[in-house]
């Protein structure tokens, strides 16, 4: 037995030592980016979240496919991509629909050298309108966007009339009238080319007989499923793509993806091509990422969000070997109110809560100095914020910490009674006389002998478990002396995030108790995409609200109209009108205060010190920024 043990130990030791030198050389090679990601690679590399929406998979897709006709620039604004698009014309039709005619540049090729033509842009759109896509499990809704798409989806047409193949390098798409005008309408033509042969297999072709474009051949789920599945998960030299990098390997066992430069890449919208030869993406563990970075397991760590982690990263940078960049989050963390029942239905109460919380102190404590306070539904990384920063500073109510001001607001709003209906005195919870409609079925209501209904200033707060924001909020607001002194009680109810969402959505399908308005306050966070679109989020339509829109349940006609007009009432080139709506929307929102913004983080990315030219921003991610980088001599 001793011999066996000795042999085993010796083998392990020898094996370990024999590869030490080999491994270290590979991992710390200058010129190779080893990118640590906190989101594990899922391995589904299908375009545009057709099936899954894993963040790292998306980045990999974007690294290998970026020949979009329209794209977003460093500030997140939609632009036409001149590397791909030779010409883009648009015309509004009599029925209100809008037709875009796209001519792509000749000479574009995939990574395998095959030419890219208009057919490569058109088939994914037809696919997105087809029942075949749904049958394969893809979440595509193109049939709702393109004229004739619904008929094609329903089987009433053999071609999509709103998608036309004009010649080898020209095609057109017509967008349905109810989606026009749209401020971000360039997003409707952010079409990308994909190899028909690689994705759907041999024997299929794109045709247009004058009635619209269609996929000719055996275009059925059964016929294409096998090839589609292969194309989704395949990595290697045989993967056909058109982006700055080729996905040359994905090790499923190690969950590690390796990229090399695509020599056939024509450049991004500025003609920029990559010069970093090799990129490896692997998993960074939340608990050990700092040690992984220090020991060379990876040399690039993207978008560090937590304040403590950023301070750790700064220590690592100071020790040498790394550089860093910081950028603003395009979103914010907030307290979310439901404004149709209980005390939070009253604007004065929402305002008072804002004044009872020292938000500057909160943001500073939570973000450890790496964050700031915003006063509306925006993040400091949005171009709208940057355009209107001065105006925002001058115009918005900042709800400074002011417990006396909070009390004044409550008194003026009628929160002046105790539970017996007598005048409120210190040590009691404030009550307000409310109508039966205002009282609703709020569980804490008190009905006096004379029928008067008193609503107590008790706010039921739903917070998810293990959430550091909740913990700090509990200390600084719910348990804060100033809150009790103001006659307010905030009850923290900790639950799983799933449970929280059920209450937030009032999802009766998950149980009758969820349909009952129970919690007036939630703490959540939100991020924006380059298309800042709040449409329907403030709808007054009860059916839509039941479906999950306007979860704040703030019924304000002006807010609804502004959020709709901001995107559906402005042409894409009319930035001034858009900003007028945007400012009015922000101003009204700031006054109604359906949410209290708590913090907008500053994010940090650490990279090796030999990497030059790395500049990241809210909407300018690693896959875009790395194209501009070089290796220092």
């Amino acid at each position: 037995m001793k011999k066996l043990l000795s042999v085993l130990l010796a083998i392990a030791l020898l094996a370990s030592m024999s590869v030490v030198a080999f491994a270290e050389n590979t991992a710390s090679e200058k010129g190779t980016i080893i990118y640590g990601t906190s989101t594990e690679i899922g391995g589904d590399f299908a375009p545009g979240a057709w099936w899954t929406n894993n963040a790292t998979d998306k980045m990999i897709r974007d690294m290998t496919n970026d020949y979009a006709v329209t794209t977003t620039d460093q500030g997140g604004q939609y632009i036409i991509n001149p590397t791909i698009c030779a010409n883009l014309d648009s015309v509004v039709n009599d029925d209100g629909s809008k037709t875009y005619t796209v001519t792509i540049n000749e000479g574009l090729v995939y990574n395998n050298g095959e030419a890219i033509t208009a057919k490569d842009f058109v088939w994914p759109m037809i696919f997105s309108c087809s029942k075949v896509a749904t049958d394969t499990g893809a979440k595509l809704t193109g049939y709702l966007t393109y004229v004739g798409g619904q008929d094609y989806y329903d089987g009433n047409a053999t071609a999509v009339s709103g998608i036309r193949l004009i010649d080898d390098y020209t095609y057109s798409v017509t967008i349905v009238a109810d989606k026009i005008p749209y401020f971000y309408d360039l997003a409707y033509v952010a079409d990308m080319p994909f190899s028909l042969k690689y994705w759907l297999g041999e024997g299929l072709d794109v045709k247009d007989d004058g009635e619209g474009a269609y996929i000719a051949g055996d275009f059925t789920a059964d016929a294409i499923s096998k090839q589609l599945e292969f194309a989704r998960f395949n990595a290697g030299e045989d993967r056909v793509s058109a982006g700055p990098y080729n996905l040359v390997e994905f090790d499923k066992a190690a969950l590690q993806a390796t990229f090399t430069i695509n020599q056939n890449y024509a450049g991004n919208f500025e003609g920029q091509k990559p010069s970093i030869e090799k990129i490896v993406i692997l998993r960074a563990e939340d608990a050990t990422w700092a040690d992984q970075l220090k020991t060379g397991a990876f040399n690039f760590y993207d978008t560090i969000t937590d304040g403590d982690d950023i301070n750790n990263a700064m220590d690592i940078v100071e020790a040498g070997g790394f550089g860093y960049t910081t950028f603003d989050r395009p979103g914010y963390g907030m307290i979310n109110f439901q404004c149709d029942f209980g005390p939070t239905q009253f604007k004065a109460v929402r305002h008072a809560i804002a004044k009872l919380l020292d938000r500057n102190e909160f943001a500073n404590t939570f973000c450890k100095g790496w964050g700031s306070v915003v006063n509306g539904p925006y993040g400091t990384g949005l171009w709208q914020f940057q355009d209107a920063e001065e105006w925002l500073e001058l115009s918005l109510n900042t709800y400074e910490y002011d417990p006396n001001g909070a009390v004044e607001l409550l008194v003026n709003d009628g929160w002046v009674y105790d539970e017996t209906g007598a005048d409120w005195t210190e040590g009691h919870i404030r009550h307000k006389k409310v109508t039966a409609a205002e009282a609703g079925n709020y569980v804490h209501n008190v009905t006096l002998a004379d029928g008067t209904i008193l609503m107590p200033l008790i706010i039921e707060w739903s917070s998810s478990d293990g959430n550091p924001v909740s913990e700090l909020l509990n200390v600084m607001l719910a348990q804060g002396e100033q809150t009790a002194a103001a006659g307010m009680q905030i009850n923290q109810n900790v639950m799983t995030f799933t449970e929280l969402l059920n209450y937030y959505y009032r999802d009766a399908s998950q149980g009758d108790k969820y349909a009952v308005p129970t919690y007036g306050m939630y703490n959540l966070a939100s991020n924006f995409t380059p298309a800042y679109d709040q449409s329907y989020e403030w709808t007054l339509d009860p059916d839509m609200i039941a479906q999950g829109y306007n979860l704040n349940r703030l019924l304000n006609e002006s807010l609804d109209a502004l959020s709709m007009n901001m995107v559906y009432g402005v042409e894409s080139d009319d930035v001034d009108t858009y900003m007028t709506y945007w400012k009015a929307f922000i101003m009204l929102w700031n006054n109604e205060l359906p949410q209290i913004p708590l913090y907008s983080n500053v994010y940090m990315t650490v990279y090796p010190d030999w990497l030059e030219g790395y500049e990241q921003d809210s909407f300018w991610d690693f896959n875009q920024a790395i194209l501009y980088c070089t290796v220092a001599e």
Partner: protein, 340 residues
């Protein structure tokens, strides 16, 4: 023996059905809506009517509006599929579809299972290779300094949570001395000339997790073996054997160890069965793509078909394991008749 095994397999099938129904029902008690979760990311790009249309389609496709029993039977393969295409469940070999990874569960599980088995085989062999001789040695030398020393160390290993051991070992071996890599099963970006190079690189990466797992499991088994051996060595037949003038080695290994094996065999077989199950803590700490981590990912993302498939697999492994244990009793101890 054959009749006994057949009877046990019948019982196992029944237990499997009961466990599967209980597990399925438990997961369905969790208040979540997979259709809503599926559409949440697309919500902003859809108009309300479009969202509702897709939501209802998805609920129908997922069979969410059917009663629990129907959904269970469909999952088991005892009820026709939603699209009416026939029976296509667990009994037909369909382990389900991962809503998170959007592919068949079998495809999701294969790579992590390979990693887990690879790591656990080394860990199990190493742990048993150390603990059994050490336990015997301590029992034979009971009360001596070395025995007392081992008792202290094993008690320490037994008491310390594995994540603490992992972090301590990680600090010294990876950060301080830089002997082993800190995470993963492959050197970043490595291109291997041969399969042997790949094997060696993987071995290098899993050495520290294996050492941690071995260290953490030393305490329990060493003390267990020691205790069983002390009991066996105190028996009259040992005194008789020694009185007959048998060599001490023969007394220990042929007489004492064979009798001590009976209470230990359960644990030993349990260990070998556990090579299929990953360690959530070790795999997450060392960033290893194994079954424990996959199970954790499945739970966090409410991917119940994946989690259920993993649990059903472990149920089968446990049931088979318990059968093997019972049979092994008969093999180890002739006094036990498993076919009675």
């Amino acid at each position: 023996m054959g009749k006994y095994i057949a009877k046990r397999i019948g019982y196992m099938a029944l237990v499997f059905l009961i466990v599967s129904f209980l597990m399925y029902s438990l997961y369905n008690l969790i208040p979540t809506d997979p259709a809503r979760a599926e559409l949440e990311a697309q919500k902003m790009s859809l108009k309300p009517a479009e969202y509702e249309q897709m939501y209802q389609q998805l609920r129908q496709k997922m069979g969410l509006d059917d009663p629990l029993v129907v959904r269970y039977m469909r999952w088991m393969g005892l009820w026709p599929d939603v699209d009416g295409s026939g029976f296509n469940g667990l009994l037909q070999g369909n382990f389900g579809y991962s809503q998170f990874f959007k592919k068949d569960v079998v495809d999701v599980i294969s790579a992590p299972m390979g990693n887990t088995i690879f790591i656990n085989i080394f860990s199990t062999i190493l742990a048993l290779g150390i603990t059994i001789p050490l336990g015997i040695y301590c029992a034979v030398h009971k009360g001596r300094k070395i025995d007392n020393g081992v008792q202290v160390v094993t008690m320490l290993g037994y008491s310390l949570p594995i994540y603490i051991i992992a972090l301590i070992f990680m600090f010294f071996f990876c950060v301080h001395w830089r002997i082993f890599p800190i995470s993963g099963t492959k050197t970043a970006g490595a291109i291997y000339a041969t399969r042997w190079d790949e094997f060696i690189d993987m071995l290098y990466h899993i050495t520290l997790p294996v050492i941690v797992m071995t260290f953490a499991s030393l305490g329990g088994m060493t003390r267990y073996v020691r205790s069983a051996m002390i009991d066996a060595l105190s028996m009259d037949y040992i005194r008789t054997a020694r009185a007959k003038g048998l060599k001490e080695k023969v007394v220990i290994y042929s007489h004492a160890w064979r009798n001590a094996l009976l209470p230990i065999i359960t644990s030993i077989i349990g260990w070998f069965i556990s090579i299929f199950s990953g360690s959530v803590i070790i795999e997450n700490t060392f960033s290893l793509n194994g079954m424990g981590k996959l199970y954790w990912t499945g739970l966090n993302n409410l991917d119940f078909e994946l989690v259920l498939a993993i649990q059903m697999f472990y149920t089968i492994v446990s049931l088979v394991g318990s059968l093997l244990m019972d049979i092994s009793y008969g093999l180890v101890d002739p006094r036990v008749r498993v076919d009675k």
